[in-house]
């Protein structure tokens, strides 16, 4: 009520222009424009080194970032990052510890505050209970972290990211090394969090196919730039060719998409004969 301007206008969950993320002095993401509406499920794709992880970490203020405009959850910069849950790509060493699942999730609750937090024990127990329910892992609550399967551990890690009241989830490769069933469980839960709780989810992945039925938007990163849109807008030959600076093609079959260089993976010997192998020529076109 105190801020009618902010309440009245529909705020973007992420509103960025000219985003530039530096990693070791090198601009991994350079000049990215990004507008994500609250409650959207965005799949983030791109080759290794395209800047998927760096982008997520930049939104959390863990990587130096420059931007013409950067607003996160209605506030300038990354000041609202405590409203964002983050699940990193690699399991932290604590993720296969002796702790029981309930205690592991609880360890994150208000973890940025000093003190023992003894007086908030009831609040904490409630928050853990809700996180367990959100990820449908109530049956794992008393299990030891070191007894979980990969898929179970991934759901526990997401539950830990949800234990604080967050409005956005940044999930870095949560599907890697999981079987299709475990992948689907995580995708269904993420979709439900978006639809029912208005959670905004950014999920990086290598294979676009498992995410096709679930995500609202695709963010494709390549060569430091990116393209955000619906699957049809982004995942097509011309859009991806502009992004990569080399001809790309998209094959569709039986509901699957397959992204590949237009000349094919095997044709390198023929294609590159007789002309310069410089990479810089293609870069400036987009």
């Amino acid at each position: 009520m105190n801020a009618p301007a902010a309440a009245a206008s529909p705020e973007w969950a992420i509103d960025a222009a000219g985003l530039r993320c530096l990693l070791g002095g090198r601009a991994v993401v350079d000049g990215l424009d990004l507008r994500v509406a609250p409650g959207q499920f965005v799949g983030v794709f791109g080759a290794n080194g395209a800047g998927k992880t760096t982008l997520l970490r930049a939104l959390l203020g863990l990587v130096p970032v420059q931007a013409k405009r950067l607003r996160l959850l209605g506030a300038d910069g990354v000041s609202r990052r405590t409203h964002v849950g983050y699940v990193s790509q690699r399991d932290p060493i604590g993720a296969d510890s002796f702790l029981r699942v309930r205690s592991y999730i609880a360890a994150a609750w208000q973890g940025e505050r000093w003190g023992l937090g003894l007086r908030q024990a009831a609040q904490r127990a409630l928050a853990v209970e809700q996180a367990l329910r959100a990820m449908e892992i109530g049956d794992l609550a008393e299990r030891g972290m070191d007894t979980l399967s990969g898929g179970q551990r991934q759901r526990v890690r997401i539950a830990q990211a949800l234990v604080n009241p967050v409005r956005m989830l940044l999930l870095d490769e949560p599907l890697s090394n999981l079987d299709p069933q475990a992948q689907q469980r995580i995708l269904h839960t993420a979709r439900r969090l978006c639809s029912q709780q208005g959670m905004t989810v950014l999920m990086t992945a290598h294979d676009i196919n498992p995410l096709l039925p679930h995500m609202d938007r695709v963010l494709y990163l390549a060569e430091g730039r990116g393209r955000l849109g619906t699957v049809d807008e982004v995942v097509n030959g011309p859009a991806l060719s502009a992004l990569y600076g080399v001809p790309m093609a998209v094959a569709r079959d039986a509901g699957y998409v397959f992204i590949h260089p237009a000349q094919g993976f095997m044709a390198e010997g023929n294609v590159h004969c007789g002309h310069e192998h410089g990479e810089g020529s293609g870069k400036g076109q987009a």
Binding site: L62, A108, E112, Q160
Partner: protein
């Protein structure tokens, strides 16, 4: 009277031993959690060098202990992010400290007993002032740990998640290493630089095998530390032999039993 409490030296030993056991067990819980046992080991040897240097200069051993361990803790924390391998860096510090310690002892030839008591402790030689210092540092250390508790838990189990929520993990690492340094500094003269794991790592590692919660684990670790210290003192008083030996033995037995229990449970658990 039980445990010979009518003697001043036994009262001092019990007071200092209990204080050191409680602080070591609580701090040690996070040392094992954060896999910093080697850093703690190195700090105790740095403490040995500091104590030997202080004795050589005719100062209190504690002065050297606190100065050397605190400076080393800062050095370890500052270099942590830049070293390719932290273990190698710690090993180099450890080696250099021991080299210095040997030099100090070599220069101070008057009393070989001093070296023995720093290396293996002299719990029954504790003075009233030493017991008071140990109690004071124990209370201050536990209070500091309580302040650090939530971010330390979070950062120990999920450092990247903690950073994302704004926990300054490098500053936290420094504060925690300073706490380890202080703990080591009061523990070395009592339990000995070489036997410090008996109280710093043994009870914590045993508790982490037996308890799957953080609060319960820390409480169990502190209880085990107290029991080991009291049991060791009682055995030394009634049976004989050095108290340090008894404490190390009990610490080892508790750890071995816990590991055996876990192995047995894994073998018999329905899968």
């Amino acid at each position: 009277m039980i445990l010979g409490l009518e003697y001043g030296f036994m009262r001092h030993a019990l007071a200092a031993g209990s204080a050191i056991a409680l602080l070591s067990a609580a701090v040690g819980y996070f040392i094992t959690l954060r896999r910093q046992a080697f850093a703690a080991h190195a700090l105790s040897h740095v403490g040995f060098a500091g104590a030997a240097g202080a004795i050589l200069l005719g100062a209190s051993a504690y002065l050297g202990l606190f100065a050397f361990t605190l400076v080393s803790a800062v050095a370890l924390a500052l270099t942590a992010g830049h070293l390719r391998s932290r273990d190698v860096g710690i090993g180099m510090v450890l080696m250099f400290a021991l080299g210095l310690g040997v030099l100090f002892l070599n220069l101070y030839t008057a009393n070989a007993q001093a070296a023995m008591s720093i290396l293996f402790g002299s719990i029954v030689g504790v003075t009233a002032a030493q017991a008071g210092l140990s109690l004071g540092v124990c209370l201050a250390g536990l209070a500091a740990l309580a302040v650090l508790y939530r971010p330390l838990c979070f950062a120990s189990f999920n450092p990247e998640g903690a950073q994302a929520r704004g926990v300054k993990t490098r500053r936290l690492d420094l504060l925690f290493l300073l706490l380890v340094a202080v703990t080591v500094a009061i523990a070395v003269p009592v339990i000995g630089a070489l036997l410090i794991f008996a109280l710093l790592v043994g009870p914590a590692a045993t508790a982490q095998t037996l308890s799957r919660s953080v609060g319960g684990g820390i409480a169990l670790s502190m209880l085990l530390g107290l029991a080991i210290t009291w049991g060791g003192l009682a055995a030394a008083y009634t049976i004989g032999y050095p108290a340090s030996t008894w404490i190390a033995t009990l610490s080892f037995i508790a750890y071995a039993l816990a590991q055996g229990w876990r192995a047995w449970r894994h073998a018999t658990a329905p899968d």
